[in-house]
């Protein structure tokens, strides 16, 4: 044994054990795997989300120098420096951040005063900045020298031309709104309108013009009417071309000097460089999309190969999940060990998936499903794994080697990729072995159940169920129970359980299906709900109604901490007094000489103590109420509004971060500059504070402001100033709580009203749409459908009534009792009812052509009446009218007498009706269910015995009352069953007479008498029917075989050599085979005496257009010649007889089938294999033979060799009907289940639960259309998929009539019995498919 072989064996053994483990404990293993995945993916949370957001890099301002253009070696070594940080930035951005406040607040002031005066300061400031000059030994520097000079705006921005600078320094400030002109500002009556005139109306993500000019986010600017903080902030943004530190320093000093910010804690020591990434264009996406398309094609083609499993898509999903989780795991693990992915994830991902691949998964699946099916699941999995273990390991090793080779290419990107791929491969292997294998075992187990169940023979099932009843019996080994028990739990792959027939819906058009899907999943509602939630989220986030402010205010008010904090800190007047005198008032004249900057340095030094003095107060606030500082200051402002100070904190320094990340790119893009893959350097801000007195505000006020805003914003703040101490606080507190309410209510109402209005509008819109698009009848149920009443129309679960299908059944009326036998040759349709009447219908139009009455009632009168009389006697008026009415024309009806008084002379059997069937069952040779199953199986229980006494009485009565006709009518109480039985009784009773007449059967034929043999012997009931061309063959219960002419309803010949009832007959071309109750089989041949009327033979108008069937003219002499007789074909009654392809197959109660050759009645085979009587047989032209028995088993036989090909077991009870198509076997059982089997593999595909008592009614229209009968309806199924295609309702209302028999005609029509009526249903849409 070589090393390889040993290794191979070891691997195989390991895989085997692993497979056993996985299949034994699926749930814990899946749980464990999921845990592993989650653990490995956990580091992914730390990764930044992919995106094109800007990247920052911070350098100290102290020794800042422009980075060199080319990154040289030593700089690369500095790991902290990003690779984009070289060369000068596009621009330096210097923001002069202004905070202004009107203080102290005055009751005379109105809302607009909060920002009008502060904004007016911007003009002064801009002027100062623009005029600033720095002078040193080199020379003078002004802003013009170092700023970024811009040219034209982009052509598309002409409307902003007046607002943004052109051909000058790029310096933007709020003053741009008024073209940097104080006069324009002063004369502007509506500042807010001017500011917001260019605001986009929709939700916007990029920078708006207001943000650009203000330099701070809109909501932080304070320029609105509800600014309760009353601090207005804005920025003057300078874009500089070059960095001139001394100029900037002098500017900073000077501005600080002019407008000192006393309590500033700004650090002002760092430059932030912001690098903007490349934006993805469409062109970039094309290759990406291509790779993804290829990826999906790969996945599709791979998963398509998964086959022979229970849930194909479930496994495909598991496979994809395996690969994806292994990817995530690999990234997570790599991150965990410090390797951060630098590659673009989106681009690499498809390649990683492709490299990892789905091949192993497929191989595993294929290997497992190809193991023997009858093994235990665990063993199957283990075997499948071990079979493929070697190749899996080999492939994995190869791939690893290839990837390792890739690792030694020494290209960093490829190395990284390879690293990811290796980890991904290993984790994928792990997942395949643990996760996928387990999922596969679960799937196989589900499949296994069906398989096992199918393969167990009936005895085994019995045995198992016995075991089940004794689950605690010690004799059953534990192991065995484990594997067998699940086998019986499910009885079928799946069963289609029908809803009550009134709920069966049609196969709907696609669009309706989509609508139903939407309706069923409530998709629209969910989307709307999600949308609403998101919308509310956005609302809350953007806070248009001041909700957050309100809430925080509420919280602060309620918390004792806020109250105390206010009391202890905000109230002491000394502090504020001090701050006010020192800081609040600008101590410098506003018209500053620009040449003062040399002094400013010293002055700044001198001023230093001032901010330091103010610091402790702020810091104490910060320390004590760190988290609530913001909240409290908002709430406290109105209270302490006699003095407000401006604070500077780190959040102000970073204010630009709160701007949209597209802020700077937008600004630059206005001038056709791009920041992509470039960076800008943001210099520390220069803080500027303005403290304005109320007088300043009043002075700045526009004349219209008072009118405009006074009513909206009553300035009643100042009232409380007059009070002191607690009183003031109390009233203030009330005021605080009232004040936000006012705001809130207004805004909330606004939002609410808006929402309501939009909702109403939406409803109206939808209503209009509904009106336009929906049909008028939609949603109104069946009201408009005319003939059907609302309740009658089938509705589905959602109350939708499908429109009336195009298929309307043709009702064939005429029979007085329930239909018993049906036969058709495609053109004509013959039916016989329990009363013995035979009717011939046109299968195309449904016209009743001929009525052949059973004149049993006349048996008394035929003795006394003349033949002539009976011949001229036309049937009862009802029937005549009926027929004329139905046919629309008077066709020649010769001698169709029917009974004028029905059943008047029948014996009263009502006393004999015994519904206690359990007793009868004891003596019945055939289960009672057979009675109503099929006419061909009417082998019947011999009721004659029970009936003898009654009959004897009656006969005596009849003899006495021979002439006293009509006798008293007997109320028709007898049920279908009992009436059926009378016939048998009658033929027993009349046997004597019949025999005497039947002595010379050929007499009739030689007569050429068209006269029917009424009254003679028609008492017996029709047990079997056959039709070919225009000849009807009836087999009667008294053993008589009659041949009738379908066109004129005349008896052409009759044969009664045997008294045993004809249970089944087959009529093929000119041969008739009859099977009798006593087990004998007769072969007849129909001969025509053609010599007599050769000419007429051709000329006869004949309805039959079937070319294969012999055509007998009405005048031909037809001789029914008994050719062969097999006296004892079966030992027990023959139940079924079918003939096709030159073979006759009989099935009998003696558990056997026999195959005879049609020509010479030679018995070819006797087929044994059923453990019960044969109840159904199917044979067709392709020599397909199937049989079903009372044991519920179905056998497929090879007719040529007589061997059994397959054996299926699935019904509980008799098989009552059996049909084969080219791919399926369809069986219907007494258990009212229709099973569809795969013919080649004998696997049950699915089963259909039928209505009670309709198990036998099924037919196949074409190879893929199955028709089943139900309660008052006929359903059309797609055999291949088990889809219900169409349901046709036979009655006008939900009658309880069952469709027990169903006959498929050649022209895609079906005939079914429906009580005493026949229904003829055409499927025109099916006809197309038949072509």
């Amino acid at each position: 044994m070589t090393v390889t072989e040993r290794l191979r064996e070891k691997i195989s053994q390991a895989f085997y054990n692993h497979g056993l483990l996985c299949a034994s404990y699926p749930i814990p293993i899946i749980f464990f795997t999921a845990l592993c995945i989650l653990t490995c993916c956990y580091p992914l949370l730390k990764l930044p989300l992919p995106g094109t957001g800007p990247v920052e890099f911070t350098t100290p301002i102290k020794d800042y120098s422009v980075p060199p253009t080319e990154p040289n070696a030593d700089q690369i070594e500095q790991s902290d420096r990003p690779d984009w940080y070289f060369g000068p930035p596009v621009a330096y951005i210097q923001q002069i951040f202004v905070k202004a406040i009107v203080s102290p607040w005055n009751k005379n002031l109105i809302a607009v005063d909060v920002f009008r005066a502060p904004l007016s300061k911007v003009f002064q400031l801009v002027e100062e900045v623009q005029n600033h000059v720095f002078q040193d030994s080199v020379g003078m520097k002004s802003l013009e020298n170092i700023c970024l000079q811009v040219t034209d705006l982009l052509p598309g921005l002409k409307k902003l031309q007046s607002l943004l600078p052109e051909h000058s320094c790029l310096l933007v400030s709020p003053a741009n709104f008024w073209k940097n002109s104080r006069d324009l500002f002063d004369s502007d009556p509506d500042i807010l309108g001017t500011i917001h005139q260019h605001e986009p109306k929709t939700l916007q993500t990029s920078a708006s013009l207001k943000d650009l000019l203000f330099g701070v986010p809109g909501k932080h600017s304070g320029v609105n009417l509800h600014n309760r903080k009353r601090v207005v902030s804005y920025a003057i943004t300078l874009i500089l071309q070059e960095y001139h530190s001394r100029f900037l320093k002098s500017l900073r000093l000077r501005l600080k000097q002019l407008h000192p910010s006393p309590n500033s804690t700004l650090r002002e020591d760092q430059i932030v460089h912001v690098h903007f990434k490349e934006e993805i264009g469409i062109a970039e996406l094309i290759p990406l999309v291509t790779t993804y398309i290829i990826l999906f094609a790969y996945i599709y083609f791979s998963t398509r190969k998964i086959d022979m499993v229970k849930s194909k898509w479930g496994l495909a999903l598991a496979a994809v999940a395996t690969v994806l989780s292994s990817l995530l795991m690999s990234v997570g693990l790599c991150t965990l060990f410090g390797l951060t992915p630098t590659l673009n994830g989106g681009e690499i991902f498809p390649y990683l998936v492709v490299v990892i691949g789905l091949e192993n998964v497929l191989v595993l699946t294929k290997s497992v499903v190809s193991t023997p099916v009858d093994l235990e699941v665990k063993l199957r999995i283990a075997q499948g794994l071990s079979n493929e273990s070697w190749s899996i390991m080999k492939n994995m090793a190869t791939e690893l080697v290839i990837i390792l080779i890739g690792y030694f290419t020494l290209v960093p990107a490829i190395q990284e990729f390879c690293l990811f791929a290796v980890v991904g491969l290993v984790s994928d292997f792990f997942l395949q072995m643990c996760f996928f294998t387990t999922v596969l075992s679960i799937d196989i187990r589900r499949m296994e159940l069906a398989d096992l169940n199918k393969r167990l023979p009936a005895e085994a099932v019995q045995e198992i169920s016995n075991q089940m009843r004794l689950p605690h019996s010690k004799s059953v080994p534990r192991q065995k129970r484990y594997e067998r028990q699940p086998a019986m739990r499910s009885s079928a792959p799946y069963t289609i359980s029908l809803q009550p027939s009134s709920f069966r819906n049609l196969r709907l058009p696609k669009r309706l299906r989509v609508v139903y899907f939407l309706a069923r999943t409530r998709l629209a509602q969910r989307i709307i709900m999600m949308g609403t939630v998101i919308w509310i989220g956005i609302l809350v986030y953007t806070d248009p109604a001041g909700l957050r402010t309100f809430l925080t205010a509420q919280v602060t008010e309620q918390s004792p901490l806020g109250e105390n904090g206010l009391a202890s800190i905000a109230v002491p007047p000394g502090v504020f007094q001090r701050g006010d005198t020192k800081d609040g008032l600008p101590s410098f004249p506003s018209d500053v000489n620009p040449m003062l900057e040399n002094q400013s340095h010293e002055m700044d030094q001198n001023k230093n103590p001032n901010p330091l003095d103010a610091l402790p107060m702020i810091s104490s606030e910060n320390i004590n109420y760190n988290s609530k500082e913001q909240v409290r200051s908002e709430a406290s402002l109105p209270e302490s509004d006699f003095k407000v100070k401006i604070t500077w904190g780190t959040q102000d320094e970073e204010m630009w971060r709160k701007l949209s990340f597209r802020h700077w790119p937008t600004l630059f893009s206005y001038y056709n500059n791009t920041l992509a893959r470039k960076y800008v350097s943001i210099l520390p801000i220069i803080p500027v504070s303005f403290h304005l007195t109320p007088q300043d505000a009043l002075d700045a006020r526009h004349p219209q402001d008072a009118k405009r805003y006074y009513s909206m914003f009553p300035a009643d703040y100042g009232e409380t100033k007059n009070f002191d101490g607690n009183l003031a606080r109390d009233s203030n507190k009330q005021h605080i709580s009232a004040k936000p309410h006012v705001h809130l209510d207004i805004t909330l109402y606004k939002v609410g009203a808006l929402g309501l209005a939009s909702g109403v509008l939406l409803v109206i819109l939808l209503f209009c749409l509904y009106k336009v698009f929906c049909p008028k009848t939609y949603g109104q149920g069946g009201l408009s459908h005319g003939r059907r009443r609302r309740g009658d129309l089938p509705c589905d679960d959602y109350g939708y009534s499908p429109p009336i299908s195009e298929t309307l059944p043709l009702i064939l009326k005429g029979h007085l009792m329930d239909i018993e036998c049906l036969a058709s040759d495609g053109m004509l349709l013959v039916s016989s009812c329990l009363s013995g009447q035979i009717r011939v219908w046109d299968a195309q139009t449904g016209d009743c052509l001929t009525v052949i009455s059973n004149s049993r009632q006349w048996r008394d009168s035929n003795i006394c009446h003349e033949r002539q009389e009976s011949q001229e006697y036309i049937s009862d008026p009802e029937n005549v009218e009926d027929d004329i009415y139905e046919n629309g024309y008077n066709f020649q009806r010769r001698s169709t007498p029917t009974q004028p008084l029905l059943f008047t002379d029948q014996p009263d059997l009502s006393g004999l009706i015994d519904t206690n069937f359990t007793e009868m069952k004891e003596e019945a040779t055939i289960p009672r269910q057979r009675i109503f199953s099929e006419c061909s199986e009417e082998t019947g229980y011999d009721f004659g015995r029970a009936y003898d006494t009654a009959y004897e009485d009656h006969k005596r009565l009849n003899v006495q009352n021979l002439r006293s006709y009509p006798s008293r009518p007997v109320p028709l109480k007898t049920s279908q069953t009992s009436v059926n039985l009378t016939s048998q009784g009658w033929d027993d009773s009349c046997r004597l007479r019949r025999r005497s007449l039947g002595d010379d059967p050929f007499l009739m034929y030689e007569n050429i008498s068209p006269l029917p043999m009424w009254g003679r012997d028609n008492e017996s009931s029709v047990w079997s029917l056959g039709i070919q061309g225009n000849l009807i063959v009836t087999g009667r219960s008294d053993g008589r075989l009659e041949v009738w002419n379908a066109a004129d309803g005349m008896l052409r010949c009759s044969n009664e050599e045997d008294s045993s009832g004809i249970t089944a007959l087959a009529f093929i071309t000119n041969r008739i085979v009859t099977a009798r109750l006593n087990g004998s089989l007769d072969f007849y041949c129909l001969d025509t005496n053609k010599t007599i009327n050769q000419l007429q033979y051709r000329g006869t108008p004949n309805r039959s257009s079937n070319p294969t069937s012999p055509v007998f003219s009405s005048d031909d002499v037809i001789i029914c010649q008994l050719t062969h007789m097999v006296p004892c074909a079966h030992q027990k009654p023959i139940t079924v007889l079918k003939a096709a392809a030159g073979r006759v197959v009989t099935g009998s109660q003696d558990h056997t089938l026999r195959i005879y050759r049609l020509e010479d009645s030679c018995c070819l085979y006797t087929l044994q294999g059923h453990s019960g009587g044969i109840t159904a047989v199917y044979i067709d032209q392709t020599m397909t033979l199937a049989s079903g028995g009372q044991d519920g088993a179905i056998c497929l036989w090879d007719v040529l060799t007589g061997s059994r090909m397959s054996h299926m077991h699935g019904h509980r009870g008799d098989i009552v009907s059996l049909i084969c198509t080219s791919s399926c076997v369809i069986s219907g059982g007494l258990d009212d289940i229709i099973c569809i089997w795969d013919r080649s593999t004998a696997i049950k595909l699915y089963s259909i639960q039928q209505d009670m008592g309709c198990g036998a009614s099924l037919g196949v229209i074409s190879d893929n259309l199955l028709v089943t009968g139900g309660q008052g309806c006929v359903s059309l199924w797609d055999i291949g998929y088990g889809d219900l295609l169409q349901t046709v309702y036979l009655g006008k209302s939900n009658e309880l009539q069952l469709v027990r028999q169903l006959l498929v005609l050649d022209n895609a029509a079906i005939v079914c019995d429906f009580g005493s009526e026949l229904s003829l249903v055409y499927f025109p849409s099916v006809l197309e498919k038949l072509d």
């Binding site: 264009g281 790779t291 398509r304 498809p350 290839i402 990107a413």
Partner: protein, 248 residues
């Protein structure tokens, strides 16, 4: 509903009969395969060209799309033609060599192969290589890996080398004649890609590396690798819906 069903049925029937007539007609069969191969070639040439272009693309270049078509309009059709020729010839040559391709012929393998091929091109476009030697070696190794993964037949290897050699030759000729001017990088990539090591010296011609101003021709690119893929594609096209005999 009936009308819908009917029209659907007839459409299906028509489609089916068309399909039957196509696959049974040998000329038609060849024609369809040629068209399919041609379009695939054109598409791949465009996409891969775009990958190369993107290296030098800045943000919002308004003319990226235009440049795809303007630079050399005849390149994609050439690629398409070449791919069709190779794709149609490959099975013939393969079978004449007596070693028909049998390994991994499923569509999923084809897709995987295409994906790897595009990935190699992608990598060569995006990854920074230290020098052209490294680039060439890497590409050669990857190409061999591709061959090993999806083909593993000697004839396939020989054909690949042969076609790569031919393609390189054509490219050289075009370069000398100055028909087309690519960027240096593109040039090297195109020339070196998937060329087995034995052809390496040819590709290392100093002019390519230094001048860069040559005409590359995606033909070269298309040839070796795509030839392999096309073979797979054609094999499958010939194998699955069409009988193999018709394909040849």
């Amino acid at each position: 509903m009936a009308d819908e069903g009917r029209s659907k049925t007839t459409a299906v029937q028509i489609g089916h009969s068309l399909y039957l007539s196509v696959i049974t007609n040998q000329n038609m069969n060849l024609f369809v395969r040629g068209v399919v191969l041609f379009s695939i070639g054109v598409f791949l040439a465009l996409v891969l060209n775009l990958l190369q272009i993107q290296r030098n693309v800045t943000l919002f270049p308004p003319d990226v799309i235009a440049s795809i078509f303007s630079s050399a309009w005849w390149v994609p059709p050439c690629c398409g033609t070449a791919s069709a020729v190779i794709g149609l010839l490959y099975p013939c040559i393969d079978s004449h060599l007596g070693e028909p391709h049998k390994f991994k012929r499923e569509w999923s393998s084809v897709m995987r192969c295409v994906a790897v091929f595009v990935g190699i091109n992608h990598a060569s476009a995006k990854v920074d290589f230290a020098n052209n030697m490294q680039l060439s070696l890497t590409l050669a190794a990857l190409s061999i890996g591709l061959w090993w993964t999806f083909d593993r037949s000697r004839s396939g290897f020989g054909l690949g080398i042969g076609i790569a050699f031919l393609a390189t030759l054509v490219t050289q000729l075009l370069v000398y004649n100055g028909v087309y001017q690519p960027t240096a990088r593109k040039q090297t990539i195109l020339d070196h890609e998937s060329v087995p090591p034995n052809l390496y010296p040819i590709n290392l011609h100093p002019q390519y590396v230094l001048n860069g101003g040559r005409k590359p021709e995606p033909l070269g690119k298309t040839h070796a690798e795509t030839g392999r893929i096309y073979q797979l594609l054609t094999d499958n096209v010939g194998f699955e819906p069409w009988p193999r005999s018709l394909a040849l």
